[in-house]
Symmetry: D2
Subunit: 357 residues, 4 copies
């Protein structure tokens, strides 16, 4: 259940309520809004009598929640979740607000110079967050598994050089602390959406998490996985629709466009679209990106590579930087048509490694 | 194979080539463009030696086609297919051009006055083509099967009253001639995409056809079904993406956004989107409609009903006319952002049943 | 609702009840069992007050049915449906009883001598019903569409020569009467499961129907399609599981084994398995056939061809007659392990075209 | 590539070949059969010239492998993999041989006495391996997550009491060593099929692994996940088909029967069937179990609970011990019909905790 406190409720009212709930063996999840506190009661809510709670001091009303997710639900947090990642000294990047985020970069980190050059090129084309894989989940145990910690170091250097926050995938709960030393956002890939040990690890880390939908996961299951992260008090979760499995073979996966309005209806969490993995072919990336923006996505995640034919992985779906720049321009026009915006490229000078916006 | 004639090829060259092909037991499919004729050779192309053909008078080059569809392919007809339906005396409606078509109306025709009133309301909101079901494919044999020929008559009256062309579904090859007497476009529903007897019947009719994708049909299978219609020389085919089956249960079907750019790449046929059936819930229709327009759809097909709760079928996914008007306005802004347009409502006066634009 | 009459109910009680129901605008579906009549009330059952009905003379009890199918449900017809097809003078073939039916033959009828030879070979290997396609639903309009009426004639000749009943697919409602002149069972293919015009046509024909499940049809939808046929009073329907579409690519489709016990639980109709289309590869046909028999299938439908590499269609999934003979022997052992049986081959002499068992 | 040595090849020939391969940066995977050694070359095989290898001393021939899995392939290991788990002092249980394994037990370990009683009941009904969940992957973070290490201790006690080997699921790579202290087989659940950190951890442990197929994983992807385990030299992998996601809603998942013959064709690894999770309803478990045995499964994995209505999880799909006993009897008859067998229950006396067979 969700307990909505009166605007004039006192702090002691809130404390009394929390004590009452915890004594019943449940946990609370606090959401302190402007002038009003909302308390999510987590656990077996049937133990607690809603009518008793509703008679407590300072309580405005009690909303029973039939949905199995609570912290991720719109009922619990009616406004959109908006948060900032990256170096706030230079502004950071705000996710979930009126401006869309543009996440771009290579599938795999392939080398120091290669990555830093590409990061600059992505930023000049309009990227605001850098993506890059250091630990790669590969279908074959014999395939390239990523540069691993070396890759993380290059990502941190690219962040230093461009000022862009960095997102990278984590595969192993044991490596979450190490990864947090180098990057700003932890990505959970499609294969690991329901890897609960990993969800608990990133939840506890307190770092922002980008949670991809699994190949055949329903929206309900996806929100339940977000709930795993949120249940640790880590509210900075970004959902990422990257295509699901259906019968079609012309595209790698099937981009589920309606997931965007459905998530916006059911949850307060931001959602970005990954048309690169959804389509698997660069020629379809632009159209799906525009569609996602028109349907309300809070951002895009695009694979970019200077020479797609030479990419160590997923070259077939990667855009060259100049095509990505065109995609950003087109996405901006569509975003403006639906009352939002894509920020203009804010380019840091490449000289002397100094921050100069 | 496809034979591209030289711009200066003579009519007798073309005739000689056709004779040569037909003697080999194959059929030809002619596409006479501006200053250049393209000939599709249909049938077992392996019988004919491509090198012999390429040495014939007036032939520029011979393109072997590995795709199993020919008349539907971009190779055969590089430009977009654009055609006009409805009463050309009052302008008709052009499909496949720069302006998008807005198809709207009730799931089922429910009565004469009801339909005509709704048709006017749809037109005033921005519809350019009227949809309405007279023969309904119902899951249950005991459910309402539609007003049948009575429904067709009302559709014809609504067309008369508004000037809008009309599209309705056909279920039985035997009823195609009757249906052609009343409407402008024949719809093949998702359940009948691979009903070859029906495809042959609408192909032979020469009437424009709106071909919906089946629940689990691939894009290749869909184009092969279009090819059935085109193989009768009926080139006026509109494809309609209406969602496919996947694991998601929050929406009725899963709208396959990438089908739009894929069709645009592989084929010259226009494609419209049906977000009503794709989502099954009115609250998601607008977002999916905007996404489809941004991705390049040539039009939208929307279920509209004055009182969705009272609709005889599919009320859950129907919009009220005022919400449809808003959808059209939003779709126009998105269309303009991608270099296209949605025409302003051109409303016919409702007075005296006379045509007054 | 379903009205169960008392064992001692009089004929006039039944008539009174039918009159009462029909006056309320509903139809009745009669099932006269041993010493007891069951009446299905079809249509909007909410109009009729179940309590009033239950007080009528001769009524034992009234069962409200929440399932959307009635005539196809176990509640309506608790015992298994068992019926005989083919020439009863020479015994016919019973479907749905303790002995399984073995349906075998080529995908396409390829010629008179070819078919008759193959029919004899199938019979000698253990087939009890002959299958063969005369009108073929082909993905491409340019592919071989079957020998059509010529094929039907050959099927009738093969029936004459072997005494085996014959099943063939129908595609067009207009051709149902012609097809009935030549064969014993009408097949509805997967693509046409929800082709309601065709379902109505075969329902009205009164001929036995083999109804395949569609590529992505649910069991509920499948039973609703059976209900279309049954609603015409045609109770001789055989369901055929032939694999559905899923993500797997190693097999052509995914055989849904659990459909067999589910159908047995929900319905009284017999169900056979088609492992040839389900797997698409001959090497997997035997294992799936054995599995289907162990799970309770009432028969098998197998593609057999003397030279699979030379088959006009679907050669990849066809067995040679000798492999089919082995499959029948293995299926018999499994059938016996679950308390049923597969009859020994009963071979008709091939000499002089005379019937000699 | 795979290098097949001559039967008379000397040990030094094998060593020379291994040195040659390792110098080229590849790994070798040795399979020493009766009188013949087969060497799998793992890594980028293109570096090594197959013709050079084929001229080395003792080499019979070199087989290039196009399949992306090697150690899991039939080409590499033509005979079936057969191995024994559990306490060999009292016989152990052989997997992959002529006798099928019967794995049974509760979804979740619910208590010490409860589990030990149930283990005895399962064994008396015919189980040869005990299953039970200690760490449960739950959709909701607020649901019961299992008794965890306490559950592992009870499993070890139940093993002690019955002599049956024990299988339990692992969720976190960090808990693999702990789990190995208590159980005989590590289970990878469907959600974690592509959790590569976990696959590497169980691969390195050297313990037998039961690898479930994921909800939408293809057979190829599944074998690639087995390859992850095998690539660590851990060859004791059991595959488990537990149903995939398709459109059907009457069953929880869709049991892919043809996966059994496909795996038998492509791989040497044993495969068992889990009809409990596949169907999700106890009434369909028996039929699917019989079907799986008839199609060639090497065993069954069944959820058993004394009071399914009271089970902490998955009660809807659990059988009571007496129904499980009937299932085993039926499975034995089917196994015998296909030339295999299910062993009779070998019951250990429950008295005094002493081992008495």
């Amino acid at each position: 259940m969700i307990v909505v406190m009166q605007p004039q409720a006192k702090e002691e009212d809130v404390k009394a309520l929390i004590t009452r709930v915890e004594e019943a063996g449940c946990k609370v999840h606090l959401s302190v809004g402007v002038g009003r506190t909302v308390i999510g009661v987590i656990g077996d809510g049937t133990i607690i009598d809603a009518r008793q709670i509703s008679r407590m001091e300072g309580v405005e009303n009690v909303v029973p929640i039939s949905k199995p997710y609570k912290a991720a639900s719109r009922e619990f947090h009616p406004g959109d979740t908006v948060f900032t990642v990256g170096d706030v000294a230079i502004g950071g990047v705000t996710i979930g607000g009126n401006e869309l985020v543009m996440i771009a970069g290579p599938c795999s980190v392939e080398g120091r110079t290669h990555l830093i050059e590409l990061a600059h090129a992505c930023q000049e084309a309009g990227a605001t967050i850098l993506r890059g894989g250091a630990y790669k989940p590969r279908t074959s145990p014999y395939a390239f598994q990523g540069l691993q910690e070396e890759g993380l170091r290059y990502l941190a250097e690219a962040r230093e050089a461009t000022g862009m926050p960095v997102v990278t995938e984590v595969l192993d709960p044991a490596l979450v602390p190490l990864t947090c030393q180098y990057v700003d956002i932890l990505q959970i890939g499609a294969r690991n959406m329901q890897n609960y040990a990993l969800l608990n690890a990133v939840g506890k880390s307190g770092y922002p998490v980008l949670l991809k939908r699994s190949f055949s996961g329903t929206i309900l299951e996806w929100l339940m996985c977000a709930e795993y992260i949120l249940s640790h008090g880590n509210n900075r979760v970004i959902l990422c629709e990257r295509g699901i499995r259906a019968n079609e073979t012309e595209t790698r996966n099937t981009f589920d466009l309606s997931a965007i309005p459905v998530i916006k209806q059911l949850s307060h969490l931001p959602i970005v679209a990954d048309p690169s993995h959804a389509t698997g072919k660069w020629e379809y990336v632009g159209a799906v990106a525009r569609g996602a923006v028109a349907a309300g996505a809070d951002g895009l995640m695009i694979e970019v590579h200077p020479q797609p034919d030479m990419a160590w992985s997923d070259g077939r779906q990667s855009l060259k930087p100049e095509r990505f720049a065109q995609l950003v321009r087109e996405a901006r026009l569509v975003a403006q048509a639906v009352g939002r915006d894509v920020p203009r490229p804010r380019v840091r000078q490449r000289v002397n490694g100094q921050v100069q916006m």
